[in-house]
C-alpha cells in the first residue's frame, strides 16, 4: 500500500468556518459596546466631579469650617468630613460584627433550618427597604425620643449596611471548602474554633470586600441622614449631638442658587469619592496581608 493513495486534506476555510468567524467578530464587537456603555457614564462622572471639584478642593477645604452664609465664597467642609468619618465609622462598627456573626450563624449553624431560612428571608426584605424609610424608622424609634444626633444617623446607616454584609459574608463563607471544616472537626475542634481559626480567615478577603461595598454605600447615603443628624457649622467629634455629613452637605449646597455653595457641593462630592476610594484600598491591603498569613 502506498501512502500516495490518500488524497491531501483540504485545509481551506469552509462556509461554516467563515460564518463562525463572522459571528465571533459580531459577538466580540457587541461585548465591547456593552462594556463601553457601562464604563462611559462612570468615566464621565469621575471626569466632571474631578473637574468641578478641583475648583475648590484643597487641604484647606478639608479643615475649614463651612461658611455660615451660603453665598460667601471660599472653602470649608471640615464638619462634614468629620461627620462622615464618624457616622460611617460608627455604623460600620455596629453593622460589621453583627452582620458577620449573623452570616456565621446562617452558614455554620442554622444552615437549612427554619430559623435560618426565616432570617435569610427577612434579610432580603430588609435590603429592599428604601433608605428614606430606614431613616424614618430611626426617626420614630430614636430621634423623637432622644433628638437629632450623629449616633441616630449611624443607626440608620447600620440598618442599611446590615443586610448587605450578612448576604455577602454568607456567600463568602459558603465558598470555603467543606473539606477544611471536616479536617478541623476530625482533629477534635469544635465548630466555633473551626469557624474562628479556619473558616473566617479563609473567607476574610471576600468578607472585607463585602463590608467595603456596604461602607461605600452607607457613606454616600443622604436620605436616612436628612432627619436623623441635623446640621452643624463647626466639627462635632462626638457621636452625640447634631452633626453633618458630606452627602447631606452636597444635597444642601447643590440646592441653593449661589455659585460659591455649588462649588462647595462639587468639592464635597470629590472628597466623598476620594474617601471611599482610600478606605477601600486600605481595606484591601490589610485583608491581603491577613490572608497571606
Amino acid at each position: 500500500m502506498s501512502t500516495a493513495a490518500i488524497p491531501a486534506p483540504s485545509l481551506q476555510a469552509t462556509d461554516t468556518s467563515r460564518s463562525r468567524k463572522l459571528r465571533n467578530h459580531l459577538a466580540t464587537g457587541f461585548i465591547w459596546a456593552t462594556f463601553l456603555a457601562a464604563a462611559l457614564p462612570l468615566a464621565f462622572i469621575v471626569f466632571y466631579v474631578v473637574r468641578a471639584g478641583m475648583r475648590l478642593f484643597s487641604y484647606d477645604f478639608l479643615v475649614t469650617n463651612i461658611p455660615i452664609i451660603s453665598a460667601q465664597p471660599g472653602p470649608g467642609m471640615a464638619p462634614a468630613v468629620v461627620g462622615t468619618l464618624l457616622i460611617t465609622g460608627a455604623a460600620t462598627a455596629i453593622a460589621v460584627p453583627l452582620g458577620v456573626l449573623g452570616a456565621v450563624y446562617l452558614n455554620e449553624y442554622g444552615r437549612r433550618g427554619a430559623l435560618a431560612t426565616f432570617i435569610r428571608l427577612m434579610t432580603d426584605v430588609m435590603s429592599g427597604v428604601p433608605s428614606v424609610v430606614m431613616g424614618l424608622f430611626i426617626y420614630t424609634i430614636w430621634v423623637l425620643r432622644y433628638g437629632l444626633s450623629g449616633f441616630a444617623g449611624a443607626l440608620a446607616l447600620a440598618c442599611l449596611m446590615l443586610p448587605i454584609i450578612v448576604r455577602t459574608s454568607e456567600e463568602m463563607l459558603r465558598l470555603v471548602p467543606a473539606g477544611l471544616r471536616e479536617a478541623s472537626a476530625a482533629l477534635g475542634c469544635r465548630t466555633w474554633r473551626t469557624t474562628v481559626r479556619i473558616v473566617l480567615p479563609a473567607a476574610l478577603p471576600g468578607i472585607v470586600s463585602g463590608a467595603m461595598l456596604a461602607v461605600a454605600r452607607a457613606a454616600g447615603e443622604t436620605a436616612p441622614l436628612l432627619f436623623t443628624i441635623g446640621v452643624v457649622s463647626k466639627p462635632n467629634t462626638s457621636l452625640f449631638g447634631a452633626n453633618t455629613a458630606l452627602s447631606a452637605q452636597i444635597f444642601k449646597n447643590a440646592q441653593v442658587p449661589f455659585p460659591a455653595a455649588q462649588d462647595r457641593a462639587w468639592a464635597a462630592a470629590l472628597t466623598l469619592i476620594l474617601l471611599v476610594f482610600v478606605l477601600t484600598l486600605a481595606a484591601r491591603v490589610v485583608s491581603a496581608r491577613f490572608a497571606r498569613k
Binding site: 473539606g179 477544611l180 479536617a183 472537626a185 476530625a186 482533629l187 477534635g188 475542634c189 481559626r197
Partner: protein, 289 residues
C-alpha cells in the same frame, strides 16, 4: 497494656485507652479496638448501612472494600462520629471503642475525634503554612508540648515528609504536590497523638508513586496506630491490610431502595484466596456482583 513507641518523644506516643481493657498475657495479640453490633446508619429516612457486626483489632490495618454506594465511607465515619456533621444522619446499634459505646449519652464527639484521627479522600490542607498545618491541632487542643518545633518535625518525619519540606516549613501548604499534601494531612492527624487513624480512600486522588509512598507509610505506622482504610482499590487492600471487610449494596425487593451490608470480614489472605461468600468471590475476581 499499650504498645509504646520506640521514640522518646512523649506527646506522639499513643494515649492510654479510654476504658480499661483486660490486662494480662494474651491481650497483645488481636485486641479489638472497635466492636460494632447491629450497626445501622440512616440518612433521613433512607437506610445507608444495615446491621454491621465487626471487630477491628489494635495495631492492624483493616480495609473496607466494596463497590460504590455500599456504605463503606459511611461505616468508617461512624468510628469517629463524623456522621454527626451530616444533617439528618442517624445511627442505630452500637460502636464500642475500647469497650465504651461511642454513641452513649455523655460521650463528647469532640473527645472521640481527638483520639481517632481521620485522613480524607481529597487532600485538604488548611490554607496556612506547612508548619501551621501540623501545629494547628496541638495548638487548638491546647496540648502541653515542650517544643512545638520538635513536635512538628516528629510528625512530619513519621509521615515521611520531613526531608522534602524541612527547608520550607513557613511556605504555604497549598504549594505542595497532591501526594505531599496527603502526607501532610497524615502528619497533621498524627500530631494530635491519636490512637487510631481512619483513612477514607486516601490514595484515590494520587498517582501510583505517591500511592506507594502512602502505602509504605501505613505499614510503618501500624506498629503504633490502628488504621482503618476505605479503598475501592482491591490491590491496595491486598497489599496493606491485615484484615479486609467486603461490603456490598443490597437492593430491597419491595421498595427498590439500596443499602450497604457487610458480606464478609476475614484476614486479607483468606479473603482474596478463599472467600466464603460467592458475592465476595464475584467482586474480587472482577465479576461484579
Amino acid at each position: 497494656m499499650e504498645v509504646m513507641s520506640e521514640t522518646p518523644f512523649v506527646p506522639l506516643t499513643p494515649r492510654p485507652a479510654v476504658a480499661a481493657v483486660p490486662d494480662g498475657p494474651g491481650d497483645t495479640a488481636a485486641v479489638p479496638v472497635f466492636e460494632t453490633d447491629a450497626l445501622s446508619v440512616y440518612y433521613g429516612s433512607s437506610l445507608a448501612v444495615s446491621d454491621v457486626k465487626m471487630a477491628i483489632n489494635r495495631a492492624e490495618i483493616t480495609a473496607l472494600i466494596g463497590p460504590s454506594g455500599c456504605g463503606k465511607s459511611t461505616l468508617l465515619r461512624c468510628f469517629n462520629r463524623m456522621n454527626d456533621l451530616i444533617p439528618g444522619a442517624r445511627v442505630e446499634g452500637s460502636v464500642r471503642y475500647e469497650g465504651v459505646d461511642l454513641y452513649a449519652d455523655g460521650v463528647d464527639p469532640i473527645e472521640v475525634r481527638r483520639r481517632i484521627g481521620m485522613v480524607f479522600q481529597k487532600p485538604n490542607p488548611f490554607p496556612k503554612s506547612i508548619y501551621d498545618n501540623v501545629a494547628y491541632g496541638p495548638r487548638v487542643l491546647k496540648m502541653k508540648v515542650d517544643s512545638m518545633d520538635d513536635l512538628v518535625e516528629e510528625a512530619l518525619r513519621r509521615a515521611a515528609l520531613w526531608d522534602e519540606v524541612s527547608g520550607k516549613l513557613k511556605k504555604s501548604a497549598m504549594a505542595l504536590s497532591g501526594g505531599q499534601q496527603q502526607r501532610l494531612c497524615i502528619a497533621r492527624a498524627i500530631a494530635v497523638a491519636p490512637d487510631t487513624i481512619l483513612m477514607d480512600e486516601p490514595c484515590s486522588a494520587l498517582d501510583p508513586i505517591a500511592t506507594a509512598r502512602i502505602e509504605d507509610l501505613m505499614t510503618e505506622l501500624k506498629h503504633d496506630y490502628t488504621i482503618v482504610i476505605v479503598t475501592h482499590n482491591m490491590q491496595q487492600a491486598a497489599r496493606v491490610a491485615d484484615r479486609t471487610a467486603f461490603l456490598t449494596a443490597v437492593v430491597h425487593e419491595a421498595t427498590g431502595d439500596r443499602h450497604g451490608e457487610l458480606v464478609e470480614f476475614a484476614p486479607t489472605a483468606t479473603m482474596f484466596t478463599a472467600p466464603s461468600d460467592e458475592r465476595t468471590e464475584a467482586y474480587i475476581t472482577g465479576r461484579f456482583g
